[in-house]
Amino acid sequence: MNEPRKMRVETLPQPPDDAIRDAIYAFWLRQLGDMDRGAAAQRLGRVLAFGLDDNDAVVATCSAVPARVAAMGHQMMLVYRSLLAGAFNTPDNWMAMVTRAWELVEAQQAAGEHAGCIGLLVPVTEAAVPAARPEAVWAENGLIHAGYGQRGFPLRVRHFADARLHIEGVT
């Protein structure tokens, strides 16, 4: 088993330069195997932040995609996902990515993006996180426990400050 390693989190510049883009593609190829260039380009457009090791190699990415979430009353939310290389897949690194993602989508929403989305939903797919971070409200990003998803992962949410619910038959 690899020793847990620290990384630093960087915001993906928009548009990303060629060097960062190629480094992220190379990371995804290492982690996921063969990857269609078109799919990779589409996925890159949703990336919010990435992690770098001490040698400035990409070792993590995270993104958020708008979707209707059944567990949240079919509200539109930005659904978070991340990919961290083995030794970097620690609760601290995972949380640092989530926090940066929240900061970015909150700023984007305040600037007029993500219309119709009420907030960020984070499925806690990293197995060590629930035990390492059992607080009902995570202090560094304000994400609260919102139950469990269909695949059994704990769900965390944070709503945008001015978000309003759109519930069929009610609103």
Binding site: A71, M72, G73, Q75, I118, G119, P130, P134, E135, A136, V137, I144, H145, A146, G147, Y148, G152, P154, V157, H159, F160, A161, D162, A163, R164, L165, H166, I167, G169, V170, T171
Partner: protein
Amino acid sequence: MSEAGELHWDFVNLRESPQAGLMEGIERMWREQAGLSPQQIEQRAAEVLLAAVDRGSGEPIGVSTVYLHRPGNLGVPLWTYRTFVTAAFRKKSVGMEMMIQAAEWLEDRYADGTDRRGQGVYMEIENPVINRHRNEAIWPRSRMAFVGLNRHGHVCRVRYFSGASLESGGPP
């Protein structure tokens, strides 16, 4: 007894100051205006926290109850909050004010260690008028946050106490 500012009712904390006469009025209100059965009244009487009392008549015009429960999909022990307000007072802020006071009383007891069983306050809002007009994802004053719908389609909201933990919880 809590003052409700310029409004015309007071809140009474019946956990701190039990009042048999007021409880009789609450049970009468439940029976005559909420249509609760004797069994429901007996159960809820044990769960009463705050009463709203009309300053003029001295009669109860609202009541809140709480009970410890692991609601729905959350899997963590929370104080499930219910309230009833008489029709004449529903358009006033009595329901919201009572909910905020109840949540703060419970949170104070959590913070000072008096009762740390519940990790927050949870409620399911059946009233479509409230769900239509108070559709903020987070209610700004009470900090009750939307966490989904129950099986009846009612809006579910939660406010965790400062320092609340999921260690006593788990998947349903």
